[in-house]
């Protein structure tokens, strides 16, 4: 059979890589925001995490997911676009986002 040259069918990355945000050494005294995609029992998961984190880091405060809107669905793009300003406005230091399933 004859020899064939085959070209690559893929595409080059078009989204430049960026570094992750700096982490605080501790969550004590930090304000943690929750982001929820309104699915997969986040209404049970986030309250439990808040209770457990509070027990370990008594000075930590929380901003619930209702403050941001659902991160999935009709309003996803608008909610995500508004996040930088909203996080700054609410003084959020770290975010727990879910639920992927």
């Amino acid at each position: 059979m004859s020899e064939l040259n085959a070209l690559w069918p893929g595409g080059a990355s078009a989204v430049p890589a960026v570094p992750a945000a700096a982490r605080p050494g501790t969550l004590e005294g930090k304000r943690i925001g929750f982001l929820w995609d309104a699915m997969f029992r986040g209404d049970e998961i986030f309250p439990l995490l808040e209770t457990e984190l509070k027990a370990r880091f008594p000075g930590t405060t929380f901003v619930g997911y209702d403050a941001f809107g659902s991160t999935f669905g009709r309003d996803e793009h608008a909610v995500l676009a508004a996040l930088p300003e909203r996080l700054a406005e609410l003084g959020v230091d770290a975010v727990v986002s879910g639920i992927g399933a």
Binding site: E3, A12, R23, F40, D43, E52, R74, A81, L87
Partner: protein, 459 residues
């Protein structure tokens, strides 16, 4: 993951909660967002099948430590894999060697591919005045660029003919349109895209729009349908087990070609015309559908009775998809009804036009409110807390028509508006069957592009 990426880019640390089985998808999506190190805190198992105590136990023992670690410690670096370039020859060999190599690298769909040689690709590129390096768009979840060149490569692989190239470019343009929602192509419910071709291209390129309209066997319909799935695999990197988490999935769909002549003879607009295109324009319209089935042996000439039967078919094929009618993506459910030219002729002889059919389908395609609420509450937990439709209407996540009364037995429509019903004429012109397709809503929202043949393409 998309939310976490937005948070990190705002210089705030994040951690994503992800269930077992979806960690690989999370990693694949993170890379395409420009944040390959995006940390994940694992939730053991899948939450849908766990008791409250099982869930709590897993969260305390596994998830919580992950949350604390990832919010207080920088994520580990990832190794940069060397990237290939467009135009790279990846393998030289005979037909079997090339196919084996493409299989090993997951660039094939399990069927033999036509080896994309430079000569074959050049023949495709000659069918458009778009430069090969033109970036059509970055395709999530990979974030990799669909270009005119890799459209040609995947078109060759799919056994398309070179003259299909303008259609292939239009398809890639739809995939790159944020309106379509290609990032959802790997959702667990596993629907697949359907390309509808309208206009002069149907006859010019040899599409089948009669017997077997949804069956493989016609080169244009079959190869172009295959091409779309190859683009999802090779450029969007939506691969089973990685970014593609379909539990079962669906094989690629052949292209559905509108029976343009039948529509014209009845004075009915085509789907493309419904969407604002002229009859002299060739158009591709793409949407994702989850399931479908035949509405068989449509009998008689009473249009109202026919519409009632057609509506019943639409309702039978609609269930959890109602989350795209009300709830988190309201008004995005767009089911499709394909009717044979014979059915359309029967309705037209009774004085109906397409708008009449659409209006009567909206009136008849209904189910009890309590059943819709069960689909989205009790059976799927798509709406935690199981809110009634009246509450959704009050909150603005359901149209007013869903709260016309309070009886749980009241009938409510499957779509928010009549115009959400897509109607296409195609299939055997001498048989009275129809086909209903349940839409995947915003996860593949109907999006159209004009096909630009070489004389019309612009740089």
């Amino acid at each position: 993951m998309r939310a976490s990426a937005a948070v990190e880019k705002a210089n705030v640390p994040s951690v994503s909660l992800v269930c077992d089985g979806f960690i690989g998808q999370g990693a694949a999506v993170a890379k395409g967002l420009g944040l390959p190190e995006l940390p994940i805190a694992r939730i053991p198992g899948h939450v849908d099948g766990q008791s409250a105590s099982e869930l709590a136990s897993g969260l305390r023992e596994v998830t919580l430590p992950g949350v604390i670690e990832h919010l207080t410690r920088m994520p580990g670096g990832t190794t940069n894999e060397p990237e290939r370039s467009p135009g790279d020859i990846v393998i030289t060999g005979d037909f079997d060697t090339v196919n084996d190599y493409f299989d090993q690298h997951r660039w094939s769909d399990g069927l033999p591919i036509v080896p994309p040689s430079p000569e074959r690709v050049a023949a495709f590129l000659a069918q458009t005045t778009d430069p090969p390096e033109r970036i059509i768009g970055a395709l999530p979840p990979s974030g990799c660029a669909a270009t005119v060149h890799n459209v040609a490569v995947n078109g060759v692989m799919a056994n398309c003919r070179p003259e299909y190239m303008p259609v292939l470019i239009a398809i890639a343009e739809v995939l790159a349109d944020p309106h379509y929602g290609v990032e959802h192509s790997g959702d667990t419910t596993g629907g697949d895209a359907l390309i509808v071709v309208s206009g002069p291209a149907v006859s010019a390129l040899g599409f089948n729009c009669e017997e077997g309209a949804l069956r493989d066997g016609y080169r244009a319909n079959t190869s172009i349908g295959r091409f779309l799935r190859l683009m999802l695999r090779n450029v969007a990197l939506s691969l089973p087990g990685d970014a593609d988490k379909s539990t079962f999935g669906h094989t690629f769909r052949v292209v559905l070609a509108e029976h343009v002549a039948a529509a014209a003879s009845l004075g009915w607009p085509t789907l493309a015309a419904d969407r604002g295109f002229g009859s002299d324009e060739s158009v591709v319209t793409i949407a994702r559908f989850t399931s479908g089935g035949t509405i068989g042996s449509i009998y008689g000439d009473d249009p109202e009775r026919i519409a009632t039967y057609l509506a019943d078919g639409l309702v039978r094929h609609t269930s959890w998809e109602l989350i795209f009618t009300v709830g988190f993506a309201p008004g995005t459910y767009c089911p499709m009804l394909v009717i044979s030219p014979l059915v359309a002729r029967t309705l037209a002889r009774a004085g109906w036009n397409k708008a009449t059919l659409r209006e009567r389908l909206f009136a008849h395609a209904r189910l009890p409110a309590e059943k819709l609420e069960r689909y989205l509450g009790e059976w799927t937990n798509f709406l935690p807390g199981q809110p009634p439709l009246t509450q959704l209407v009050a909150e603005g996540t359901a149209a007013a028509v869903f709260a016309e009364g309070e009886s749980p037995h009241r009938l409510v429509p499957i779509v928010a508006r009549p115009e959400d019903l897509l109607i296409v004429i195609s299939g055997d012109p001498n048989r009275s069957n129809a086909y209903a397709l349940a839409s995947n809503g915003m996860h593949g929202y109907p999006t159209s592009r004009k096909v630009r043949f070489a004389a019309e393409s612009s740089r």
